[in-house]
Assembly symmetry: C2
Homo-oligomer: 456 residues x 2
């Protein structure tokens, strides 16, 4: 890993204002974008969906083209955890989409080309999104819409310099083995600034992370993959120790998890109503349908199903600072939709309402340390949205909390202190950091860089 | 990665004789082991199998316990390659087994505890195997056999120092998403030397690699995971460059491969005969059954199915030496049983007979460079066996060939020159190097260390 690249990323993280971009300028631009957003999203019944229908043989909810995604069933068996076997609806989208950010240096500072983008499930309309956020159906124009802007920087034969490029997972409880390609490229040629796009420094993006529902999930995920120097100014990402890799291998070797895709009509414990698919206890999530009308997207009007979670999630890392750099307490997460048994997740990741309906209402380890922490130990606390293209008003409270100095963490296959520099090394590969952990890593970039907050 | 560990591995690789172990001593021990091997393997008809049968509903060949492995069907669709869709029988073994080598320093040199082990499909009876080679059914004693020797060094709560530990794939054309845990541990306490086991240096193991069918597949696979200093004496494994990771991500994002497990009775193009399952063209492989009688294993007599390939495989790396260390020309391998689309494989990996039956008998890229190389450019050339616990007389000719200086390799998603130090970094993780590439990496350790051959 080039040291100078990590230094350039750090420099951008420390820049809150440049001749190219200021936060005041961003705010004015954002207000204009919001004023211009004429989109409208309405819930509809399933029989009002256009080009989507329940397949006769399976009951799966599918698009007429066979593309995009389907709502199917999943049957999960596992040997640990409060529930040994369950059925659930799941989103199946085998295509690898592109989540790409174009960067370019202006005045010696790396800037990131971000987009004001409406997604039908977004809480609050527009969110700040990567330069390109496109399924393969999108950019190959299965739905005959407009071309995806800037996609040629990611799909061409001669791509610009690549700063990061790995397929990363998304919510394993809601998606079956979904991965998107998280890419950052650096352009040195001139590049046209299209309407709806704007250059921002990493420091500005970090600042905007503190606003509820502003920086979208895909942006957070891609930014987490940047070669960030958590170990100090000069060091790039470290390498995972053999001890850490062995701990992960051990955890993955010992879990018996099987997840079998089944027909939606065979899913037990859920019922299909005219306007939603819902769990018998009203827990977890619903599958709903929406009608969308918008300008400024590839097409102007469409309908689609969305997954609408119950409750607000909590995702939190306990953090500690050591002589060798910052560490976080990672938790291993076994999810039905995981591509490889489990991934590393936050210390705490749950929706408290859902835990109450599980047999015995099991306690969530470390939850009280996270939600009950004195204010002085809370380093970050913001409500952020999950992906609005598939989820409806899915929001989680993301927290970074300084661990109490006397916290005891027994050796366990479930939790382990890991150096941030090691996580930065693992995130270069697939299959390691789950999406919630990646959001928190981006928040940690902010907390650990910590430029002074500018006057409002 | 600790530099001193890579140095210690290199030192062991350069040691052909120590007070603990000499090659003459090994040969005498090996002759004794062979003389004591009373095992007998006979082909039988499927209806002579004990505890195995064809399941009525699916036609799958299964063990009564539900453990071990099953012979099922696989239906593969892919968008590239000579054949777009095909069915085949496949071995399904979801458990993660342990392939573990115990190491210990004697007289300042790391020694490896190896085992003379009979497997029913072995060509030539005994082969030199890791300290522990056990499926989870084995070491949890599903078949009520004897305990697996030394397994406690890999399964205990307090394991010794771990030198390498990753789940690695096996033959993706014969196994459905099979992975075994490849582990090397270092012991400092006293350890009893049991009958059938022997300490060897890495240099001795490398020397023995040149004998046909002696060092078994599992040993080669585990040794490849050692932190070996390909870049020079002092350096440990390097880190994969972002360019390399991006090339892999690109290849994996653009292949459309789906592999669906189907009932064996639904497999088209294959027929079930009384004593074998065979392809209509007589190509690829048969599934057969054997009756085994032996001493010196966990149980004394059993029957089991095996996969018996047609022909002898060819697996070869083209190698070049650069100012930055040795490089190999890797090929991307899309196989139906791959857990994650594709892995990096040898420059050439094929069974020439099978290519002849494919539509249009496509040419194998670089095959003539490998098989037609002048003798002076052939660095390694030995017939080695694949795993005898599942395959019957499966052998491949493993070659390392110095690339001609004028070889042109166009930029391609199929082949790329990669530094050995980068591969040594990737092999610390799952999903990167296929089993044939790992065998060749171990052979490259030998070629690049190159101690003088001792007098015979």
């Amino acid at each position: 890993m080039s040291r100078s690249l990590a230094e350039r990323v750090t420099r951008s993280a420390a820049s809150l204002a440049t001749p190219t971009s200021t936060l005041d300028g961003f705010r004015e631009w954002w207000r204009r974008q919001q004023a211009g957003d004429t989109s409208r999203v309405e819930r509809i019944a399933f029989d009002e969906l256009r080009s989507w229908s329940f397949e006769a043989r399976t009951g799966n909810l599918v698009h007429d083209s066979g593309g995009f995604y389907t709502i199917e069933g999943l049957r999960v068996h596992r040997d640990t955890g409060p529930v040994a076997t369950w059925d659930q609806p799941i989103i199946h989208q085998p295509e690898i989409g592109i989540l790409g950010i174009v960067t370019k240096e202006f005045d010696g500072v790396l800037h990131f080309l971000m987009q004001a983008k409406m997604e039908p499930g977004n809480f609050g309309g527009l969110q700040l999104s990567p330069t390109v956020q496109a399924t393969r159906s999108n950019y190959r124009r299965v739905h005959s819409g407009r071309a995806v802007s800037y996609v040629e920087y990611f799909t061409g034969e001669h791509r610009p310099r690549v700063l990061a490029d790995a397929r990363q997972s998304e919510q394993g409880s809601w998606f079956y083995r979904k991965r998107n390609r998280n890419v950052v490229v650096e352009v040195t040629d001139d590049i046209e600034l299209l309407d709806g796009f704007r250059w921002l420094t990493l420091g500005q993006l970090h600042h905007l992370l503190e606003y509820d529902d502003l920086v979208n999930m895909d942006s957070r995920s891609v930014l987490a993959c940047l070669p960030f120097a958590f170990g100090g100014e000069a060091a790039g990402p470290g390498e995972a120790s053999t001890e850490l890799l062995s701990w992960i291998t051990d955890a993955r070797s010992h879990h018996d998890v099987t997840a079998e895709r089944i027909a939606l009509s065979r899913v037990a414990g859920w019922k299909v109503l005219p306007d939603r698919i819902t769990h018998d206890d009203g827990a977890f999530f619903d599958i709903i349908a929406v009608d969308v009308t918008t300008e400024g997207r590839e097409v102007r009007s469409w309908t689609q199903p969305l997954l609408s979670p119950r409750g607000v999630g909590v995702a939190a890392f306990l953090v500690r600072r050591t002589a060798h750099g910052p560490q976080v307490l990672v938790g291993t997460r076994v999810e039905g939709g995981s591509a490889d048994v489990l991934e590393l997740g936050p210390t705490v990741q749950c929706t408290p309402e859902n835990h109450a309906v599980l047999p015995g209402a099991p306690e969530v380890p470390f939850l009280e340390h996270v939600l009950g922490a004195p204010k002085g130990r809370v380093l970050f606390d913001t409500l952020l949205s999950e992906e609005g293209g598939r989820f409806h008003h899915a929001r989680s409270r993301y927290l970074l909390v300084e661990a109490p100095p006397d916290l005891e963490v027994p050796a366990s296959p479930d939790h382990r202190w890991v150096a941030m520099s090691e996580l930065a090394g693992l995130i270069r590969h697939s299959h390691y950091l789950n999406i919630e952990a990646r959001t928190l890593i981006t928040c940690l970039q902010k907390v650990l860089t910590c430029p002074p907050t500018p006057p409002q």
